[in-house]
Amino acid sequence: MAVPVPAAARAAAVGGLAGFWRQFRRHRTGVFGLAVVVVLVLVAVFAPWLAPTDPFTTSRAALQPPGTPGHLLGTDHLGRDVLSGVIWGARVSLIVGLAAAFTATVIGILVGAVAGYFGGWADELLMRVTELFQIIPRFVLALIVVAFFGSGLVNLILVIGILSWPQTARLVRSQFLRHRTLPYVDGARVVGMRAWRIIFVEILPNVLAPVIVVASLDIAQAILLEASLGFFGLGDPNLRSWGGMLNTAQQYVRIAWWMSIFPGLAISLAVLGFNLVGDGLNEATDPRLREGA
């Protein structure tokens, strides 16, 4: 029982991609999450066609409540259309979320693979650094870095990505610790395969399933962090983001609830969507959970 079955073999056993989908489909919350994510992606991709106006266009119709002709979700203090802001904001959140989670996953895989495969002082050192990154409050550090270096989109992605890898690194490390003593890795070593090939070609594909689960949860966290920075006034100044909209809404909470409700709802839904997809993937790829259900 203790012999771990590589994820690829597991997927094959239940019938490849179709089998995986059959497993995933059984978790209604996961499917709901996926639906939310799909809608988010569609809105982000088709934002220019969906949005009634440019999100930056001001008008004399300031602070109009929802239902005002031409402004379904109302307008803000400068007369900008809230609905258009929410639609364009989906782009910012999605780009930052995906790119930052991707950055974090790549760093986490590299750090975790090296630490877990080689062990010894490399492991010791890398785990200390990982611990340090877990201890330092991400939001505070991100805030300072963005305040120092500027809050452009690329900076936001890099900062959030560079601060979000520890969980992936720990996961990958523990998987590599397990796999490096398995016969198939020994075999690869005996036939003289180079370390980097063993790491990336032999082991990595077998440990990717849980990494993908963490990555989808990372997307949710990255969206949340970007929104938090935006709320602190540190979003990309050239883009309309959900966090930034909530920043301006803060001063108008008492008189214009719609400025606050809709962007916040959008953030919550997007984060929820990716969290649910992560949960669903976790349950669909983990045979222990499947048998228990």
Binding site: P137, V140, A147
Partner: protein, 329 residues
Amino acid sequence: MSGARGSKALGAYALERLLNAVPLVLGVIVVNFLLVSLAPGDPVTALIGEYPAPPDYVERVRAQYGLDAALPERLLRYLGSVVRGDLGFSFANRQPVATLVIERLGRTLLLMLTTVVFATAVGIVLGVWAARRPHSAVDRGATGFALAGYSIPEFWLGQILILVFAVGLGWLPAGGFRSIRADYAGWAAVVDQVRHMVLPMLALSFRYMAITTRLTRASLLEVMNADYILASRARGLSERRVLWEHGLRAAALPIITVIGYNFGFIVAGSALVETVFGWPGVGRLMYDSIFTRDYPVLLGILLLVSVSVILVNLLTDVAYALFDPRVRY
């Protein structure tokens, strides 16, 4: 194991954890130093902020940190002054950074500790309810709440709470630390303070409550089939007692761990919530410092908050060892 031996071993374990924390604290200081050194432009800006400072102070900072010296020497000097408790001077607030941050830290801790206690208590109750009948309506409700609570940003929740309870219903104040105009004393002052704390605490609690609910439910479901639980059922203990006494004992450990692990997240959350409610703690100070470009304050907050996270983790490690005799120390 005798009590005396146990406590001695625990002391040794605590010391070991403390020694482990030293390189982490050093690491935090080095990160801070790197931020100062890598900041675009003159490092003096990072050390003083963009608030106009007297030229002789600028010169003093230059000399103190040996800004013309090589990097390793600068790091040593920086370490030296941090160890002496010198985190620089905030010109926007006309106060040494250490004094300023520590004063604000008290108010933030007040908010955070109440939140942790409240959220943990509610989270445990919800988790136990959910685990009592898995897949029931109550369970679905609690699980759904946990998922939502984990996804809603605290600062938005704060705005909603203000909308509903302050603007709409007018039950509670929309922000601030205490009523400025009224001059309450004694009991009335306490009530006034609590009234100001309810909404920020609720906003901050949600995420934490969600985590605790989920965790309590999961660990209860895991142990409820264990042999000793079966044994207590067989002995005729009421289901209620089995659940609360035995089940909860098992759930206590993961909950302690999660308190330590998530402490950093509450710090971040409290920064955001303080900004929404105008609660004059560290978070609000951070928000203000970004706009006054008061960099030494930001760096001081990063340092002190990181060190407190390390301390809390240390405490939870020791608490964990106290609770669970199986932990080898």
